[in-house]
């Protein structure tokens, strides 16, 4: 179904985007990817996805600003922050900006799927979609 997505991954590292996309796609999730904040906020997937995986360090704008903008545009979407370097302070700020979960890098396939399933409310892929 064109124009309908489950997950949007926002990360400036291609290998992270590709790896995450491969894993999620293999689980039957439809994944879109964006390489920076602006293209993420302009991405067509933003309208339909249920989960955004967002890096906190993006080349064009601060991850926290992206989070706030996402929250404004899609108040109901789950946002899991994936970051390689987060202090307790960063995490508190991210939660305040609307993050619903954290997934510290680097993660393996199992950890990624656990975080994604948790964020999607334990709902299996493709079972409940916005119509």
């Amino acid at each position: 179904m064109a124009g309908s997505w489950d997950v949007l991954i926002v990360d400036d590292e291609a290998v992270v985007r590709d790896g995450v996309s491969r894993v999620l796609a293999s689980e039957g999730l439809r994944v879109a990817a964006a390489e920076d904040g602006r293209s993420a906020l302009a991405h067509e997937a933003l309208g339909s996805c249920r989960l955004v995986l967002c890096d906190l360090m993006l080349p064009d704008m601060a991850g926290l600003d992206v989070l706030r903008a996402l929250r404004t545009r899609r108040p109901g979407v789950a946002v899991v922050v994936i970051t390689g370097y987060a202090t307790a302070g960063h995490m508190a700020q991210a939660l305040e900006a609307g993050a619903t979960g954290f997934l510290p890098k680097p993660f393996d396939e199992t950890e990624l799927m656990a975080a994604v399933r948790h964020a999607l409310g334990g709902v299996g892929p493709g079972e409940e979609r916005e119509s």
Binding site: V16, V23, I82, K105, P106, F107
Partner: protein, 503 residues
């Protein structure tokens, strides 16, 4: 211009000795001279009286030849310089030296002055006033005059030489040599000078020796130590051989260098930690993205692996080793993110018990027995319980690693302590493990320094050190290779009064 202390002390002491002995010598010699001269004077006076009485009748009867002979004889005796008789006009009428007979003497002259000074001659004088000492031909002489009084017989004698109204008819003058006395005094003076020289030389030698032993050598050792410290050698110690003030100074010096070395070590360590922290944060951030790629792909492949068991094993190696990289990076990040401790009154026994609970399984796995010895009267320490728990866990992990697979015992104890920094509480972790080589001890707390090979990151003790330092505490390690290691963590006590901050 540098004058040695020793030289100045010796000069000062020499001067004092010289002055003291000089003053004593002057007093003694004066008294000695006065005694000798006094005795001589009495002798001369006696002689003078003897001459006067033995010539009495010769004078009275005007037997001038007799008188002359007697006076000449007297004058020949040893020690007697001259015997003279002056008449009232000051003319010498008899003398042991015949050549001066008839010579007139000025009444103001030495022999006459005592009586004639007032213008009108005195008729009677005490012995002291009748004598005088004056120099003559190479030595001093003592002269004593003896007035010859008028008597009734003199005026009524046949010669009618003297009128009845005269009181003094002439003067008998006896002079004796003071050469003997002068020799005596000179000898005494010489002896005193010799004694003074010997005393000054002796005391100078003793002072020199004492100065050399008590001052010069310790000061040289101190100066040498100071130069070495100035050149950067903070391991310098001065041998403590002296018990006096300079020994005290040397002890203070050693104490100072020890503290300087400790402070420098801590500064270097703190500096290293800070730069390693910055580096770690940067590296961790950069390396986490590629690690994410490797880990997701490898674990994805492993899950989907349809290939041979061999391929699965290869993939498992990739996943396992990537996870190891992840642990190292996390260690680095933990290290880089050391936060200031939230200190409050903390029961270290409780902290130790929690750490033990965490470690129990791992210790059992290593077949390590744990002996707990917690002080019952341990005062509360000012500490961040979580951070100190991490310290104890780190030390327990190290102790277990040092014991290895053979099994052994770890002794974990707490105790109250009083050090120069004030009262504190200590946690002691002792193991009977492999011990640490003496050469490794100084680097033990350096980041990335590890003796565990690939099993360690070299961050555990660096983090431990950082935590203890940020608590204002101290960590100390004693180790003997093959016998075991003892870590002692000392923390300051919580302020005794006032309620702690709630929550």
């Amino acid at each position: 211009m540098r004058t040695r202390i020793g030289t100045q002390v010796i000069l000062g002491a020499g001067l004092v000795t010289a002055l003291t002995i000089g003053a004593l010598a002057v007093l003694i010699l004066r008294a000695h001279e006065a005694a000798l001269v006094g005795e001589l004077k009495r002798g001369a006076d006696l002689l003078s009286e003897t001459i006067k009485s033995s010539t009495h009748y010769d004078m009275l009867e005007n037997r001038r030849d007799n008188l002359h002979r007697q006076i000449t004889n007297m004058g020949r005796q040893q020690g007697i310089e001259a015997v003279r008789v002056f008449n009232k006009e000051g003319r010498i009428v008899f003398s042991s030296d015949a050549s001066e007979i008839g010579r007139a003497v000025d009444k103001q002259a030495e022999a006459c002055y005592a009586c004639h000074a007032a213008g009108r001659p005195l008729e009677r004088l005490p012995t002291a006033a009748r004598s005088r000492v004056f120099p003559a031909a190479g030595h001093r002489v003592l002269g004593i005059i003896n007035p010859i009084q008028n008597e009734p017989g003199c005026a009524t004698a046949a010669c009618h030489a003297h009128g009845p109204r005269d009181t003094v008819l002439g003067v008998l003058d006896v002079t004796v040599s003071l050469a003997g006395v002068d020799r005596d005094i000179a000898w005494g003076r010489g002896r005193m000078v010799g004694l003074a020289a010997a005393a000054i030389t002796g005391s100078s030698a003793i002072l020199w020796w004492l100065n050399r032993r008590l001052v010069v050598r310790p000061v040289e050792a101190l100066a040498e130590g100071t130069r070495r410290v100035a050149a950067g050698d903070l391991s310098t110690t001065i041998p403590l051989t002296e018990r006096h003030e300079l020994g005290e100074l040397a002890r203070a010096f050693n104490d100072m260098t020890r503290r300087l070395a400790e402070a420098q070590r801590q500064l270097t360590q703190a500096d290293k930690l800070a730069s390693v922290g910055r580096l770690a944060a940067g590296v961790a951030h950069e390396i986490n993205n590629p690690l994410t790629g490797v880990l997701t792909y490898a674990s994805f492949l492993l899950k989907r692996a349809a290939g041979s068991p061999e391929q699965r094993q290869d993939l498992e190696v990739i996943v396992r080793e990537t996870k190891r990289c992840r642990e190292i990076v996390r260690g680095l990040l933990d290290f880089a993110r050391q936060t200031p401790p939230r200190r409050q009154g903390t029961d270290l026994n409780e902290v130790v018990r929690r750490a033990v609970t965490i470690m129990m399984n791992q210790l059992a796995l290593h077949r390590v027995a744990l002996a707990l010895d917690l002080a019952t009267d341990l005062p509360e320490a000012s500490a961040d319980a979580n951070q100190i728990q991490q310290v104890v866990v780190n030390l327990l992990v190290n102790a277990a690693d040092a014991i290895g697979d053979g099994g052994g015992e770890i002794r974990l104890s707490t105790r109250a302590t009083a050090s120069e920094a004030g009262p504190g509480a200590e946690i002691v972790v002792e193991d009977g493990g492999s011990g640490i080589a003496a050469a490794d001890l100084p680097r033990l707390f350096e980041p990335f320094f590890t003796t565990k090979g690939t099993r360690g990151t070299g961050l555990g003790l660096a983090v431990t050190w950082g935590i203890v330092q940020s608590h204002g505490g101290a960590i100390d390690v004693q180790s003997e290779e093959g016998k075991g290691t003892r870590f002692t963590v000392r923390l300051p006590l919580a302020a005794p009064a006032g309620p702690g901050p709630g929550g």
